[in-house]
């Protein structure tokens, strides 16, 4: 091998020497014509060198311009701010216009810092791939007018609901909704859903809104009105409703043709706002819900449900363990949404009925059960892509005193700048019972609401 290399080298050298010798040989045998040829070549070479020098100068100028443009802002200050850096007062130049735009750039120290920033950002974005879908829904409510029974604040950021949703593993997903209100933080819902159970079971474990009727399952921001119906406030625990830590099992049930039937059974600890209170470990509350659904046509469908719930009332253990509250509910929803114009026109009518049977002590300390009834009916119609009009009628007895009945109605107008924000106004009239049967107070109020959604695009409830 070495020999081959040496032979090749010698051959190469010979060729090179011969190549150098040949013009000399020509020259030696030549005369004035050969000299003129050489001069011409020299001139050509000089010309080429000048052209190259000019090109190098142009390229240098362009390179400088590019460097200046790139480094005009950061190069003025030796401190480079990383995206994660905390900016202290005085770190930034007081007068940005004083930065010399053509400050000589110093790429050498800048380069590693830039690389560091990029590496840091890259690592973070990779880590984000496994983050849950995060969203925040802001709910700002204003109220004007007269309400002496249950007045609300003039202006409030009613709640900021942070939602986090993710698939946990091949068998489960989790959803958490944490509500930051004016008075504190509340885990509105946080549960894991097991999606791969046998026998068609769907199990949820955690804190969740109970499957009692319709309105109890809907978050504030997803309601078609600003407030909740009077029946919810009087009989089913108010804004939070039946919302407790527990276990839920749902299963599709055999159904007649073209019907969809679903049954849900839930067990909760037994603490739900004003509805239930668990004084002992055994004071669990339960909820059962049966849903029937049918497509009447491609654009119209009917959704029916009956619900039952039972738990211990909040009178306290001192009065004995036998004070229970039984709640019964029935709901019906009729939807119309033509598929070709679904985003422009749709209509929804919903009504829910509630019966409450609450064990309590009468004013003279005798065991009694108060039977109260409440209902609401609401309708909403989407006029076009941006406007929806709606109305609601309310009537409800008080859970603790069924002889007191509140009545009300509302008119609602909603404007949607986009899918991710909503502006709503609601006129609300109330004929509200006060302490003694027969006495009442009239409420006339105007409510307005601004809703905004940031982050992941959550699924719309059906």
């Amino acid at each position: 091998m070495k020999k081959v290399v040496m032979v090749s080298a010698i051959l190469f050298l010979c060729c090179a020497l011969r190549a150098q010798e040949s013009p000399a040989g020509q020259a030696s045998g030549g005369n004035s014509s050969a000299v003129s040829v050489q001069e011409t070549r020299m001139r050509t070479l000089e010309q080429q060198v000048r052209t190259l020098a000019a090109e190098v100068a142009v390229l240098r100028g362009e390179l400088k311009a590019v460097r200046d443009a790139k480094s005009a802002e950061p190069a003025s200050d030796p401190r480079i701010l990383l995206t994660s850096a905390h900016v202290e007062p005085g770190m930034l130049p007081a007068n940005p216009s004083s930065i010399p735009a053509s400050a000589p750039p110093d790429p050498a120290p800048g380069a590693p810092q830039m690389a560091q920033t990029q590496t840091y950002g890259g690592a973070t974005s990779n880590a984000k791939l496994l983050n849950p879908d995060i969203s925040l829904i802001g709910d700002f409510i204003g109220t004007a007018g007269r309400n002496n029974v249950s007045p609300s604040r003039s202006l409030e950021l009613h709640e900021s609901e942070v939602g986090m949703q993710a698939i946990i593993d091949p068998y489960a997903r989790a959803d958490a909704f944490i509500s930051f209100g004016e008075t504190g933080v509340n885990v509105e819902e946080a549960y894991v859903t097991f999606t791969s159970l046998p026998a068609g079971l769907l199990m949820k474990v955690g804190k969740m809104r109970a499957d009692f009727g319709k309105v109890n399952t809907i978050h504030n921001h997803a309601l078609p009105y600003i407030d909740r119906p009077l029946a919810t406030n009087n009989l089913v625990g108010g804004e939070d409703g039946i919302d407790d830590a527990g276990i839920s099992i749902t299963r599709f049930l055999p159904a007649p043709k073209n019907w969809f039937m679903e049954g849900t059974a839930q067990v909760f600890r037994g603490d739900s706002s004003t509805v239930y209170a668990a004084n002992r470990r055994e004071d669990l509350s339960v909820v059962g819900h049966l849903r029937g659904y049918r497509d009447l046509s491609e654009s119209t469908n009917l959704d029916l449900g009956i619900s039952y719930s039972r738990g211990h009332s909040n009178l306290g253990f001192d009065f004995g363990p036998n004070f229970l509250t039984n709640l019964y509910g029935a709901d019906a929803t009729l939807r119309w949404k033509p598929l070709r114009r679904a985003i422009y026109k749709n209509f929804l009518f919903r009504t829910e009925l509630f019966w409450s049977a609450r064990d309590q002590l009468s004013p003279v300390n005798i065991f009694q059960t108060q039977h109260a009834f409440g209902m609401y009916s609401s309708a909403e119609y989407r006029v076009n892509r941006r406007w929806t009009v709606g109305g609601r009628f309310d009537r409800s007895g008080h859970a603790t005193n069924a002889s007191l009945t509140d009545t009300g109605f509302s008119g609602i107008l909603t404007y949607w700048p986009s899918e991710f924000s909503q502006i709503r106004g609601q006129y609300r009239f109330g004929h509200l019972a006060v302490a003694n049967p027969g006495d009442f107070s009239l409420a006339n109020e105007f409510l307005f609401q601004f809703l905004f959604v940031m982050g992941a695009h959550g699924a719309h409830p059906f």
């Binding site: 091949p170 159970l197 046998p198 769907l202 599709f252 067990v267 892509r385 959550g458 719309h460």
Partner: protein, 316 residues
């Protein structure tokens, strides 16, 4: 005492129910019956039928004339999803507003995200308009992963069909030859059809059009059309007067004579623009089933191309 034990007994009942459910186990797989395929859109069902033939039953959740961004998660779909062996989705967050709860509530482990029966067709397609840099909703309802209307490029249709054929083969290895033959046949027919379609649109290459929504980038790229503007100021944002005026000026300046509108959008603004600019409004279905006669993937392009040609000829 009778009432005290209520909670305890109920917990016991629940536990017993759960155990009973566990003992019952999953329903035994249907042997050699037709594979039940649910798809998010009609186009994916059409592609599945091309390669699956009589060995499958495919049904779409969304209809071809429905906006696939906004579909109601009706419980009636749950029963179908529960029985599905395979769920084919468009992906790229097109169905994010309605499909996730349906998948979760279907109680079908086979089609959960990441399970073997969950098939994201976008993984096989060439995706356009993937945003770079910062993505915000100031740009409207943007799809951060790219434009999800990719099935309107027939080459993507072929790629997806190949993916479906491979998936079906994996699920039913005994029918591998059948699926391979169906795919080969589809490939041959589609390539011939694409040649024909390209020849048909060749005289109109580079024609400028305006579309309502950004549904057509793949179609426009494949058939050499030039989309110069949109009726929506931003994706998912309804037309505004200012944007409409600007669009009309642009159309006059660029001599744009055709406004393509998907069948689920209101024609009021496009008609007003057309009156002002002398353009023609063309309702063009982007999906199989968008019109009665569009019964398969080939007829979708047949229909759209023939309508486009008519519109170009009429406005020349």
């Amino acid at each position: 005492m009778h009432r005290c034990s209520f909670g305890t007994r109920l917990t016991a009942v629940f536990t017993a129910l759960a155990f009973l459910g566990a003992l019952l186990g999953p329903a035994p797989a249907r042997a050699a019956g037709k594979l039940k395929i649910m798809t998010a859109t009609t186009d994916l069902a059409a592609l599945a039928e091309e390669v699956g033939g009589e060995k499958i039953e495919a049904e779409s959740i969304a209809r071809g004339y429905q906006d696939p961004h906004f579909v109601d998660a009706k419980p009636s779909f749950l029963l179908k999803l529960k029985r599905a062996d395979l769920l084919i989705v468009v992906g790229l967050e097109l169905e994010i507003g309605w499909l996730p709860p349906l998948i979760t509530q279907s109680t079908n482990p086979k089609i959960q995200v990441g399970a073997p029966g969950y098939f994201d067709a976008s993984r096989f397609a060439k995706i356009l308009e993937i945003p770079t840099g910062q993505v915000t909703r100031a740009e409207g309802d943007v799809h951060p992963l790219g434009n999800p209307h990719y099935w309107l490029d027939p080459e993507n249709g072929l790629r997806i069909a190949k993916g479906i054929a491979d998936k079906l083969t994996e699920m039913r290895p005994e029918d591998a030859v059948y699926f391979a033959q169906r795919y080969a046949d589809f490939e041959q027919r589609l390539k011939q059809a694409v040649e024909r379609w390209l020849a048909e649109v060749k005289p109109y290459a580079g024609r400028k059009i305006v579309t309502y929504h950004r549904s057509w980038p793949n179609f426009a790229e494949h058939f050499h059309l030039n989309v110069v503007g949109y009726v929506e100021p931003r994706p998912g944002i309804p037309p505004s007067p200012q944007h409409t005026v600007e669009l009309m000026q642009l159309m006059k300046r660029e001599s744009v004579k055709v406004i393509v509108v998907e069948p689920y959008f209101d024609l009021k603004t496009p008609n007003a623009i057309a009156r002002e600019t002398g353009a023609q409004v063309l309702v063009l279905p982007p999906s199989v089933g968008g019109e009665k006669e569009i019964t398969d993937y080939f007829k979708l392009f047949d229909y759209d191309i023939s309508k486009l040609k008519q519109a170009f000829d009429a406005t020349h």
